[in-house]
């Protein structure tokens, strides 16, 4: 530690994301100036945790990562399942379970302590391989699937990190095009 701030190591970052830091250590991390090298550290730590070799270029969640696959930024689950081009909402390739009845909601919640299923449903998006619950979506029936996060990878690497992007990808949402092609 230097001057009350934390000297960040790979071990510390690993302990951080594994929830192993004590409250005191964690608050020190929160209140310290941010380490400009954290991004690289986290990529290293995450890369060591996954059982595959594709290079992670951006984490999307604690289970999903964008990797460079055949020069296409691709969403990949920690188990290895690939959801395809990150510019198509990955939820469209997930397995989905919808809690839209009192019975299914009361598997989780006490009566009176959940939404009315005619007002709102819980959509659960699972990885088709390992069946990790990747996202819940709480919306009224008929609500389009939400595309939570579409990063601009080119701009991030080129303009913020000053590096060449690991794979070129125009910043564009391809979800609606995918739906058109799939269902028309």
């Amino acid at each position: 530690m230097v001057g009350g701030e934390i000297m960040e190591t790979k071990e510390l970052v690993r302990d951080l994301i594994d929830g192993k830091l004590s409250m005191e250590e964690l608050y020190r991390v929160i209140s310290s100036d941010k380490n400009p090298h954290r991004f690289k550290l986290i990529l290293d730590v995450l890369q060591e945790k996954v059982p595959w070799d594709d290079k992670i270029i951006l984490p999307l969640s604690d289970s999903l990562f964008i990797v460079c696959k055949d020069n296409i930024p691709t969403v990949k689950c920690k188990c290895g399942f690939e959801f395809g081009d990150y510019r198509v909402n990955w939820k469209l390739k997930a397995k989905i379970y919808v809690r839209d009845s009192e019975e299914s909601l009361q598997e989780l919640y006490r009566p009176f302590m959940h939404s009315d299923p005619s007002w709102m449903e819980i959509r659960e998006y699972y990885c088709p391989e390992c069946f990790t619950l990747l996202e819940t979506e709480v919306v009224p029936p008929g609500y389009p699937v939400v595309f939570d996060f579409l990063p601009d990878i080119n701009a991030f690497y080129r303009e913020w990190l000053g590096e060449e992007p690991p794979c070129e990808a125009e910043f564009v949402d391809k979800t609606l095009k995918y739906i058109q092609e799939k269902f028309k």
Partner: protein, 732 residues
């Protein structure tokens, strides 16, 4: 420059300030290095610390003048120092959402020529609580005083307190039964309310007759004025010590620094791109409202889209938001900016210079003619929180995705609980209790809402019962203190509400419950508000939303007899399936699947229950560690059956403690994954099922109305909706 500025009117100064920002993109045109800061950074930081310290001191001292527990013990007040044009320089602790709202009061007065009529002079006092220009709702009363040095207006000091009652159509501070401005209660639209440092007599008479709690209103005003005059005295001394030249330069630089700090944080902590989140809010008034126009069930669409440009600019939009409503939930553009500001200060600049520079650093779009920019002062704005609060939980989730992607997992927060269920109303005492005079009015203005559960982070559970999005210093208040004013509404219990925390690998902060009884009264009226038919948002990355609220009360009870017979009495509801209250009290039970109600009449001995929200969760619950699950069981956060069904964890009693059976739990977690595999479907099947609900109209009217409104109000949102479901036309 200072000589020229001295001769300019306030309106010209404001125009100049805005022009300089427009032309340079920097506050007051300060594009290069900040000269004063560069010259003497220690003096610069010391100056900021002195101003901030004076504001905090003013708050800490003035709060003791107020007698309202909302202000005195919960801390619902704040003091802010503004430039002559109305930009916040620094602020105290407290209800920070108002740092920006009071800024718009000042700008409104300047733009409307107050300098000429009624005039702005040394010793003047102005008051505003109009949410259509500044402010969030009428209940937050602002007092503003101009500060002059050598005859020139050099600053404004603003103070805000949250009132117990504001004279609306029903008693309370966040009412449900208002449909227009004319039912919102006491309105003060940026008025001069004092001269020569003394409030006008006519103002004092009018304001005291305008609310149901004149004593609290009076003492709250004295609290605000006292704080403001402490700030005024400090500032004049500060200018004498530092010099007026330094002061002028410093206040511009410190705001520009605030703007730069936020931009730096964006590039330091986030990722450029597009972020989306959506929240909702239910209004179940078909069986509640008195007014025909409000007798509907309604679901509001509260979408958030954040774009972070390659240049590092943060843009927030709410395209697709629902239309204004005949309820008190409409929200002016200024409080939306206030909500945005208060969230930015907590999420991005919690360890930097915080002032209106943060406001200048972002772009926003609150679409006209929607609930978040209604553009009609005649609508009701009594409780915009009902939509504002859930909507900004979406902002937390959006930015958290950026934090996680950038590697700052410790900054992630999955949202927060609705600061809901502030039970309100009032009644008359019967005189039955010693020392309580007959027919004395007891207001009910509960404020435990300032302690909801915070959402989970990516590395730890959410804060239990300790967060409010509008005031970063959550305090639930002392029950004994509250009973001093809410005399007929006695506490039976306050305790954790099991299973109210959003599920996840890291759980949301837990919520809690309160049970009270009417005693020593001639009866009274009570109402409250919280989400019930709808969750208002998701968790993050597989985390679930926190439990919703519900309404539960028992009328015509045997409570008094039970107490006389020294039988046990309930402390809460606990589990609605096996209610403790129902098992220990006889009476007429009402349970509603929603929580937002109009006032109902209650009688002596009636039992009333309310709940304070937990927070949403983070990550897949079946990845939660056994240690944390065991802790949850022993602390009563979750019941064993919920740990089993949601977390796949079997706990068994060993002596006094619950202990996880790891072997059984591992087997159960495997079974849960198998169950997920068995009953989940592909997107194709999901898409067809959901689409058919639209094409066949199998949606309830509130949902249909919500879609109709968003499609009509936003061409972009409507087009995306149609393209997603491949519909040429939406007939709902």
């Amino acid at each position: 420059m200072p000589e020229i500025l001295e001769k300019m009117g306030l309106k010209e100064k404001l125009d100049l300030c805005e022009k300089l920002y427009r032309e340079t993109g920097a506050y007051y045109g300060l594009t290069g290095e900040l000269e004063l800061k560069k010259e003497d950074p220690f003096r610069w930081m010391q100056a900021y610390a002195k101003i901030r310290g004076a504001l905090v001191t003013a708050r800490e001292i003035a709060v003791h003048i107020s007698s309202s527990p909302i202000v005195r013990s919960i801390g619902e007040l704040a003091f802010v120092l503004y430039t002559p044009e109305g930009d916040a320089i620094a602020h105290s602790t407290g209800i920070l959402v108002h740092v920006h709202t009071m800024s718009d009061d000042i700008k409104f007065m300047i733009r409307n020529g107050y300098e000429e009529n009624p005039g702005i002079k040394d010793g003047d006092i102005f008051t505003c609580n109009d949410p259509s220009i500044g402010n969030v709702h009428t209940t937050d009363v602002h007092t503003l005083v101009p500060i002059f040095y050598n005859g020139e207006l050099v600053a404004w000091a603003g103070g805000v307190t949250h009132e117990v009652d504001i004279g609306g159509v029903v008693p309370g501070h966040d009412i449900t039964a208002s449909t227009s401005r004319f039912e919102d209660g006491f309105y003060v639209t940026a008025e001069k309310t004092g001269e020569n440092d003394i409030p006008f007599t006519h103002w004092r008479i009018r304001s005291q007759r305008g609310t149901r709690a004149p004593l609290y209103f009076d003492l709250d005003e004295k609290c605000r004025i006292a704080g403001l005059y402490m700030i005024k005295r400090f500032l004049l001394r500060f200018i004498e010590e530092e010099g007026i030249e330094f002061y002028w330069k410093f206040i511009r630089e410190v705001i520009e620094q605030g703007r730069r700090d936020l931009l730096l944080r964006v590039k330091e902590r986030l990722i450029p791109g597009r972020y989306r989140a959506v929240s909702f809010s239910d209004t179940p008034f078909s069986q509640e409202a008195w007014q025909p126009i409000a007798r509907i069930d309604h679901l509001a669409h509260l979408p958030v889209e954040i774009q972070i440009t390659p240049e590092g600019k943060l843009k927030l939009g709410m395209d697709g938001a629902s239309a204004p409503v005949p309820f008190p939930w409409n929200c002016g553009e200024t409080p939306m900016q206030g909500g945005l500001w208060v969230q930015l200060t907590q999420l991005l600049v919690h360890n930097a210079i915080v002032n209106d520079g943060s406001y200048y650093a972002v772009e926003y779009e609150f679409p006209p003619n929607t609930w978040c920019n209604p553009q009609n002062p005649q609508f009701s704005y009594q409780c915009p929180w009902y939509y504002l609060i859930p909507s900004f939980t979406g902002m937390q989730r959006c930015l958290s995705r950026g934090f996680l992607a950038r590697g700052f997992w410790e900054e992630v927060v999955s949202g927060y609980g609705m600061t809901g269920d502030p039970v309100q109303g009032g009644g008359l005492l019967s005189g039955k209790v010693f020392g309580e005079p007959e027919d004395f009015y007891w207001p009910v203005a509960t404020f435990e809402i300032s302690c909801t559960g915070l959402g989970a982070s990516a590395v730890k559970d959410g804060l239990d019962h300790g967060y409010a999005m509008w005031n970063p210093e959550g305090d639930m208040g002392d029950a004994e203190d509250w009973e001093q004013i809410e005399r007929g509404f006695r506490f039976l219990g306050r305790r954790l509400l099991p299973n109210s925390a959003g599920f996840g690998k890291y759980r949301g902060g837990t919520g809690w419950e309160i049970l009270r009884v009417l005693y020593g009264t001639k009866g009274g009226q009570l109402f409250s508000l919280r989400e019930g038919y709808s969750f208002f948002g998701s968790g993050l990355y597989g985390g679930y939303p926190q439990a919703t609220g519900y309404r539960f009360f028992i009328k015509n009870t045997d409570f008094e007899v039970r107490v006389a017979e020294k039988k046990p009495y309930p402390l809460g509801d606990g589990d609605p399936k096996e209610s403790e209250a129902e098992s220990l009290v006889e009476g007429e039970v009402t349970r509603l699947p929603y929580a937002t109600t109009y006032p109902r009449v209650f009688s002596e001995g009636d039992i009333f229950h309310y709940t304070i929200s937990g927070g949403p969760g983070f990550g897949d619950p079946i990845e939660r560690s056994y240690e944390l699950c065991e802790k949850d069981a022993n602390e009563g956060i979750y019941t064993p059956d919920v740990l089993e069904k949601v977390y796949g964890v079997v706990v068994e009693k060993q002596g006094d403690r619950w202990v996880v059976n790891k072997e059984k739990s591992e087997k159960l977690r495997k079974e849960i994954r198998e169950k997920r595999k068995r009953r989940s479907i592909d997107f194709e099947e999901f898409w067809k099922r959901e689409r058919s609900r639209i094409t066949e109209g199998r949606l309830i009217e509130p949902v249909k109305r919500m879609f109709r409104e968003s499609i009509a109000l936003s061409k972009t949102w409507g087009e995306e909706f149609k393209q997603f479901w491949l519909l040429d036309e939406v007939m709902l």
